[in-house]
Symmetry: C2
Subunit: 319 residues, 2 copies
């Protein structure tokens, strides 16, 4: 289809953006676009639904990497260099765990550990992940709604040439080295959407799929929420055949699919009302079987995030 | 009995100190004398058996306050100002737990948290507290043997005018404010001495009771090890009717006993071959029904620790 040319909305005061939006997000890329949306939309008009398939227990703590990345980013607490973890972080606990011969493969800063310890404490007391996330957002000054996709455990397992690996084992411990053959989302059949997820989708004017990994960040969310009877717009996480961050391109390749914005659009083809791809991929636009917006999708600065968000919102409004 | 006058052994090269010793220790006071002993005795001649009645679970972590204080002190890692916790400590995790509305009444530094997280991880894997303590001592460069009194949980409960309180609840959270009526050591009937405890006592020439709280630091150890068929020498934690640190004097008072070195000697009376009290309490020496050593027992400096240790060792050797 013909691309809609990006008309850059002026940052902070875009023209047609006041619509109720649900954003589906994984980690760093999703958090960046969510942050852009949060710069534009008032709190009541944005709900971010976050993947929890990457969650795991480590050193006795319940860790939610994507949820934390999204919340830290919206709170302005994220490390701007890595995209994950906390800004001005210290690493004294991890250094001492290492001295004791403990596991050091998962980077845990001292401030970040507070999140995991207190979340674990509350969940052991019986609080739901939704409730804990709401309280933490309040404490951190996050005004927009952030919801885990589910309060029930869903665990992403990566089928590889070395057997099935827990996601963080594959992703962090093994640096995505094993060859991917497929994915399994343990618990997804019985996991209900978290309280508020269904309502947010039902009252949204559009659902935005953030530039997160389609296989392991977005698919688990889509599997949990199942039915989406709203216009869906996805932003490609693949730019010029590569990912800004993470193993999505490598996964496509190992699964026998040429990684590209086109592959991402095909991935979501049954859902899409619109697709956003980068200007470097403009030549692919004609091959995509839905309306497209070709624009700059790299988010290097906070302004880039807001600008992409405004453009995506305007595009979604035009569908 | 007549006091033996303290003949100050020259620090580091005392004359008659090469004897195999078991020291029973609680927290800060016990750790200081243990450190003094460790400065004098070779590793094979000193075993420190530490109270675990204060252990508790907090924020999902298994915390052993006395064991950590003794190990940190022997390793030279203890905060010299507080006596507990780590030197050059940072507090970023606790500050962030506080921001999230989590419990902040128990001081947990970032380095210290590493100890608790890694210990908890190992114990959940099935390792014993003895094994974990041995590994941690090795990692920290502690050459003398440190043993928990037992690998089985013993929990000190304080009977107060407000009901029974878990020890840390009474001690840290409530600042020892509730009036003490008695103590209970939950689990002590079935708790076996940790591996090595019995052997260390059987091969020791003398057992030293460090200047720790008789009620809540030493009694739990004595209850677990039960039979001591060796000369026992205790060092009074009460100097001039007061404790250097902790609630021992307050406890004696609330239990209707005038706090004094004499009260401590009476506390241990069935066990003692010798008793060490401070020079400020020399007038009490005649009232104590065992041999006494009157000497300076305040340990302000590392040298004070070694000097007291040397004097106590010489005194024990003279009995």
């Amino acid at each position: 289809m013909k691309p809609t040319n990006s008309k850059d909305a002026s940052h902070g005061q875009p023209s047609i953006v006041h619509r109720r939006i649900v954003a589906l997000a994984g980690g760093v890329g999703g958090a960046k676009l969510a942050h852009g949306l949060a710069q534009i939309l008032p709190p009541e008009d944005l709900t971010v639904i976050v993947n929890t398939g990457d969650d795991f227990e480590h050193l006795g703590m319940y860790i939610c990497p994507d949820l934390d990345t999204v919340c830290y980013t919206l709170a302005g607490l994220a490390n701007p260099e890595t995209g994950w973890g906390r800004v001005n972080e210290s690493w004294n606990t991890l250094a001492n765990i290492e001295k004791l011969g403990g596991p050091n493969w998962f980077s845990l800063g001292d401030q970040d550990i507070a999140t995991h310890l207190e979340r674990t404490r509350r969940m052991k007391e019986g609080q739901s992940l939704t409730q804990v996330t709401r309280d933490f957002c309040k404490a951190w000054g996050v005004k927009h709604t952030v919801l885990p996709m589910s309060d029930s455990p869903v665990r992403t397992l990566v089928e590889t040439d070395e057997g099935e690996l827990a996601f963080q084992e594959y992703f962090v411990h093994r640096h995505c080295e094993p060859q991917v053959k497929g994915f399994r989302f343990d618990g997804v059949q019985v996991a209900e959407p978290a309280p508020g997820v269904r309502e947010a989708i039902d009252s949204a004017e559009a659902i935005l799929i953030c530039p997160s990994n389609p296989w392991v960040s977005v698919d688990p969310i889509l599997r949990v929420i199942q039915k989406i009877n709203k216009p869906v717009v996805a932003v490609s996480p693949i730019i010029g055949g590569q990912t800004v961050k993470g193993p999505a391109a490598k996964m496509y390749r190992e699964l026998g699919i040429e990684p590209s914005a086109l592959a991402v659009a095909n991935h979501y083809r049954t859902l899409l009302s619109g697709f956003v791809l980068d200007t470097v991929d403009s030549s692919l636009s004609d091959k995509i079987e839905t309306k497209t917006l070709v624009t700059n999708t790299l988010m290097n600065t906070f302004d880039d995030r807001a600008l992409l968000a405004a453009n995506v919102l305007n595009f979604a409004g035009s569908l």
